[in-house]
């Protein structure tokens, strides 16, 4: 059975590009969320194998969403995929429980290698 992926990002372009990469490599995208709160809700409802999470989003940002998910589901596998990659934000992501931190832009190899490292 293919691994199920949840995408949390406020950009429809990122949803579209990630979906193509993931589905083209045998993964199932079970849902897209456009903010952190929606991402937390969909995680609880769908229990995906992997989450791709942006940081800067309206309503609830990605760091907060990771904390909410990891508080309840320690086993959650979360890959942060974001435009910002400074030391402070990386450290906040690590403290929140992010498994892998990736900086945009991305390509198929970057995405598939990251998944291979955590599942």
């Amino acid at each position: 059975m293919s691994k199920r992926v949840l995408i949390v990002d406020d950009s429809p372009m990122i949803h579209n590009m990630l979906r193509k990469t993931l589905e083209g490599n045998g993964y199932e995208v079970c849902a897209d969320a456009s903010n952190g709160r929606e991402g937390v809700h969909l995680y609880e409802k769908l229990q995906p194998d992997i989450v791709f999470m942006d940081i800067t989003m309206p309503i609830m940002d990605g760091i907060e969403a990771v904390k909410c998910i990891k508080d309840k589901y320690k086993e959650a596998k979360i890959i942060m995929l974001t435009a910002m990659g400074d030391e402070e934000i990386m450290s906040q992501a690590e403290e929140a429980g992010v498994d892998i931190f990736l900086k945009k832009p991305f390509n198929d190899f970057k995405i598939i290698s990251a998944i291979a490292n955590i599942v």
Binding site: M13, M17, T56, M84, G85, D86, E87, K103
Partner: protein, 150 residues
């Protein structure tokens, strides 16, 4: 600016073939048709703006998404231009934060499209860099509250 050039090439496959030196922006910006702006704030405030003609913008987003874009009103095109600016500004802010500990964070990008647009930002001194690609010109405009030394 070298990293912006590399990022654009990585994302869109389009090369910047010529680039001007940073020059002070005097007065308003006359847009070429597609303009995206993103503000940032931390220990200082500013904004990053990219302006280009529709033909170049459509080609960039088509290459980035792998889908042919033929209208600047298409939702996915607007999202693509916004994301491109987000990635370029995010990279620039990452460098500034790591070097000067400015704690800069980005606001969501905004995209404007249309003919004969004028963009004005009051109370911010700006510099611009004009660049050429094989598909048309692109102008990058950076402003900081309190000004920038050119």
């Amino acid at each position: 600016m070298e990293s912006t050039k590399t990022l654009l090439k990585d994302m869109t496959g389009i090369d910047i073939v010529k680039m001007s030196v940073p020059t002070e922006q005097v007065g308003e910006v006359d847009s070429m048709g597609v303009c995206t702006t993103i503000t940032f704030a931390g220990k200082c405030k500013g904004r990053f703006m990219i302006d280009m003609p529709p033909e170049l913008a459509l080609a960039m987003v088509s290459n980035m998404s792998g889908e042919k874009m033929d209208s600047i009103k298409y939702k996915l095109f607007l999202a693509g231009i916004a994301e491109m600016n987000n990635i370029i500004a995010g990279d620039a802010n990452t460098v500034l934060n790591n070097q000067y500990a400015l704690g800069l964070r980005l606001a969501p990008p905004i995209v404007f499209t249309g003919k004969n647009m004028i963009v004005a930002t009051a109370k911010m001194d700006a510099v611009f860099i004009e660049a050429s690609t094989e598909l048309g010109p692109i102008k990058i405009n950076i402003a900081f509250e309190g000004g920038i030394e050119v």
